[in-house]
Amino acid sequence: MAGPSGWFFHNLSLVARQRAVAYLLLAPAVIILLLLAIYPLFYAGVLSFRVDPLYNPNVARFIGWRNFSDLFEDERFWASIRLTLVWAFVVVGAQMILGFFLAVLLDSTVRGIGLLRSLIIIPVFVSPIAMGLNWRFIFEPVSGLANWILSDGLGLEKYSWLSHVDTALTTLMIVDCWQWIPFVALILLAGMQSISPEIIEAARLDRIRGIRFYTKIVLPLIRPVIMVVILIRLVDEIRMFDLNFIMTGGGPGSSTLLASTYDYTIFKHGHLGLMAAYGFLILILINAVVAVFLNTLYRSEKAARRENLN
């Protein structure tokens, strides 16, 4: 095979030439990565040690760790981190449980199930902004559709949905689950359908049916799929911004102020340094959750394998 020509390559050994080609091919991706990911990350790192107000560049300066200490002293910061973790675990938990039940329903062979499978994925493709705006109108406290159904349709009391500190977060969770349960269900369904028919047949012969079939056969076999879905959803939910921003903007008060929305608020107020510092802390939080999760996953996989060997 003819190698690359040119004076540079002629003077190189075959191994060095192959290595040079590899670097050359990697270069565009690396350059793009450096420009669009590494440099901004580095810049954000520098920014997090500065006061750099968007509204007054004349007073920009290095202030050491003060942005971080300001955040640690800020009760709203801790509240937003707590809320984000609660949000992520509750919402992912609900999505996994309900998504699994939906997957079981979709796993049936009744007529029209193919069409249903296609339709059910639609919420995932809807833009969160458009969806959020629609849901906001649906949950409008006086003239919204949800309360109209409750009061005029069912004769029940109207509910405050997004307009009260006690109910706004739950309402937001409902909408997020509505969007992502189908995604979880379809991935789990794919996992279920990849289970070997022989195993299912063997289970039938052993008269393993109903709940036992799912707890003893299906769930253990699709465990790796479940873990991947949980990981994807957890990271996504910790980073949650669009739906939160468009539906409540973190309010009423600070009752739905998730981490990313709070970080955006800090940017909106023009505090670029503080925003960068908070961004880094969110990054650390996500990495910590992922690390803990992957570690748990690795340990449990290892234990399961050991159990199988025994």
Partner: protein
Amino acid sequence: MKYSDKDIHAYDNAVRSIEHEKKGEFTRRKMLKASAATLGATLAAQFVPSTVYGDVSGTIVHFAASGKRLSNTLTAVKPLFDKVFPNVKLEVVSKPVTEALTQINTYMGSKSSAFDVVTQDHAQFAALQAMGALTDLGPFLKGHEAWLADYEEDVPEMYRDMWNIPKGPAPPGFIAGLAPDGNAMMTFYRKDVFDKAGLKPPKTWTEVLEVAKEIHDPAREQYAYCAAMARNFWAGYQYYGALVSWGGHTFVDEPGGDFTPAHSTEEGYQALHHLVELQKYAHPVTANAGEDEVNRVFGNGTAMFSPLSWGTAVLNDASYTDHYRDWNMAVSPKGSLPNSDHRALTGGFGFFLPTWGGNKETAFAWSKFMNSGDREDIGGSPLIADAIVGAGGQLSRLSTLKRWSDRKPFFNGLMESFPVCVNSSPIVPEAYAIMGAVGEEVADAVNGEKSVEAALKACDKRVHRLMEDGGYYS
């Protein structure tokens, strides 16, 4: 000059409208209902400019937040401007208002040359000055002395002063912007509901609570009160509107001085306490409402009044609400402490020419055109102001406000409030950041997440940090 399909469509509509007008059918109400472009084309067809500047050419790009009061007014006036400057291409770029204000600062922070004219909120002008983004309009005003004299006579002094940054003497001081738009925080009330209950618009905060209690009837979906209490600057402005009426200030020794924050004061307490008390009679959206949500529930007839609302002329717009005749406005209430008085926060959007923009002369000509006034002998025309008002705008020119006041009670409220106006925020680059920080604490207090005292203490702490970062205490 080539016309697009849109232009031709607008022209057709304009011709039709003129025919209606000849028959006496194109009433002011119809004008209020017409779309901005159609309205502009209609008025342009009647507009005979005293001078046409055919030798001026080029493109000017104007950035403004979208909405009736903002980008729509530009769209409506454009066809008239095109007749005076036939070889100038004017492009209007708009973004949703919630994000536009921050975006403008981001553009200016990066010294963007993308825009030649920008519409920005008054509270941001000191920040723009700190960024070096403002162009002094003084030199451009030379040769327009007659127009300037008319502008000074017609626009209240307080309003003209708002655009002199740093605040200084009237021209030839640094004039940062011209103000085709005027606003003030006022009491908004449904006159029909108040009349039926035998009530007058409240003049004091004690009366505000009494009135709210009287007309609150959630069982009939008649909520007494609504205000923009969403966290960040919405709630911040509500609080500041109340604070100044109780005689309070952002800083202990405003204006100037050592910038010591002054929220944990009797004035601050009374202001926030009354807002918290009002929540008992609030429309449910109040808890997290921006101005759009407030106007929507005012418009759909489920909320009846607000002691402090920026509002817009939209509530007197027949195309927006069936209650357009019922919404009246009055000067905002006062507190009962020794320094309390009726004080209305000023607001409004001004045009500025970014330092890095191009076509400055033409951009200034456009800015001035939007501020033309009615006098035809100095290049103005009532049609220009009519286009702005018809599109949903609200001017600071008293002549226009008076001319339209029979159709728009909002303008009566503005005229009543102008003499008692005070700056909506201190003229410092930190103004918006202060409002945002304070607004977060206020929203927490109003929604019961914090006590009034704790919220005010947090306001002081956060404002102090902002000013410290700005180098005010060194």
